[in-house]
Each structure stands twice: as C-alpha cells, then as structure tokens.
Symmetry: C2
Subunit: 123 residues, 2 copies
C-alpha cells in the first residue's frame, strides 16, 4: 500500500475532480467531472467522465469503472481504455441519471461494467 514516496494509494475526491483524462494513444479526451460512490458496498463505483459539450448544454457523462483509471505521473492525468472513435459507443447518461436505477434506463452499473468487461466482486 505504501509507496517509496511515503504516500499510500489514498487520494482526495476533490483532487480527482477536474483531472484530465487521456486515451491509451495519449490524446487528451476529457475530464473527470465527478465520482459515483456506492454507499452500501463502500466501493467507488464510477468515475463520471465528461468529453465536452456545447457550453455544458446537453453534455453526457460517461461512467467508467474506477479501476480502469490509471494515473500517469508523466501526463498529470488519468489514462483510460477509450479513444475518440469508441467514445460514441460507450454508455453515457445525464449526470443525475448516474445514481438512478429504473426501468427506462436499466441498471447503469451493470450496463457499464458489462460494456468495459470489468468484473465486480461486490453487489
């Protein structure tokens, strides 16, 4: 858990928000706009990524399993397994819908984890 710099893997949520997000190819593709926490399981559910939008109007948020975000010291941001070409296919929602679970949207968490092929060992 402890690194040679004396830091743990702990990070403040407020520091994560606004951090740049890069594709594996190295292009800046967006920003971490928020984090979705799961109160019941104590797990970090998603990073909510924003990839731009006209003055925020109609902007969709892309939930990405937190475990997929890989911090790069070099870039000063997170690298995620997405690129500009496949963003269009990724699950995206209005911000308020990221914490919902209902019939019309389906289960945001299941949809997202399935899309990214990330397993959860928590309910």
């Amino acid at each position: 858990m402890t690194t040679s710099s004396g830091h743990t893997s702990a990070i403040l949520a407020s520091k994560v928000k606004g951090t740049a997000v890069y594709s594996t190819a190295g292009d800046k593709i967006g920003t971490v706009e928020d984090i979705v926490l799961d109160k019941k399981s104590n797990q970090i559910m998603f990073a909510a990524l924003g990839f731009g939008g006209l003055l925020g109007i109609g902007e969709k948020y892309y939930p990405v399993p937190w475990s997929l975000l890989d911090y790069s010291e070099d870039k000063g941001g997170y690298v995620v397994p997405l690129n500009k070409d496949n963003i269009d296919k990724a699950p995206a929602y209005d911000l308020k819908d990221l914490v919902k679970h209902d019939g019309s949207l389906g289960d945001v968490r299941t949809t997202t984890y399935d899309y990214y092929k990330v397993s959860r060992d928590w309910q």
Copy 2:
C-alpha cells in the same frame, strides 16, 4: 441495492461534499469537507469531516470510516457516532496529511479504523 424510490445506493461525490454532519444526539457538529478514496482497493476510505476552525486557519480534518456515516432524510445530513465531547479525542490531521503514510504520523488509516473500532476486510 435498489430502493422503492428507484434509486440505488449510488451517490455523487460532489453531492456529499458540504453535507451537514450530526451527532447521534442530533446536534449539528460539522460538515463533510472531502472524501478520501483508496485507488488500489477501489474502496472509499474516509469521509474527511470538518468541525469548524477560526476562518479555516489551523482547521483539522477528522477522518471517519465512510461506513459510519448514516444518511438521515429527516435531517438532510449524515449522522455519525461522535459528539462534541469526544471529538477532541478523535484522530485529526491537516487535510494534506490524510493521504500520507509516514513514520511521523503513523498509519492514518489504521489509527482511524482502530479508534472507531471499524473492521476492514480489504488491505
């Protein structure tokens, strides 16, 4: 996971920040100032509670295991097992030190979880 209102137990980190914190006796004792995430384990490590301070000068932050925060719809805030009398004894740190782990501070996480007698099943 799903409640009758169609919501999951998911919550946005940005909504948690600034939420009032009450003692079990019902007194407002502070505010959630930030959340400490554990990147490696995917767990929410702490809520960082602030209980005031002179214009923020010298304010200490009280890490409290996230699982101890119980949201009260009635109060519109979190209830924690702390009261004004025992806050002085709880572990408290500068905000920047909440993510550190070094010899002079000891292990913030172990100290805090031990103080609140909360078990962790994650490393």
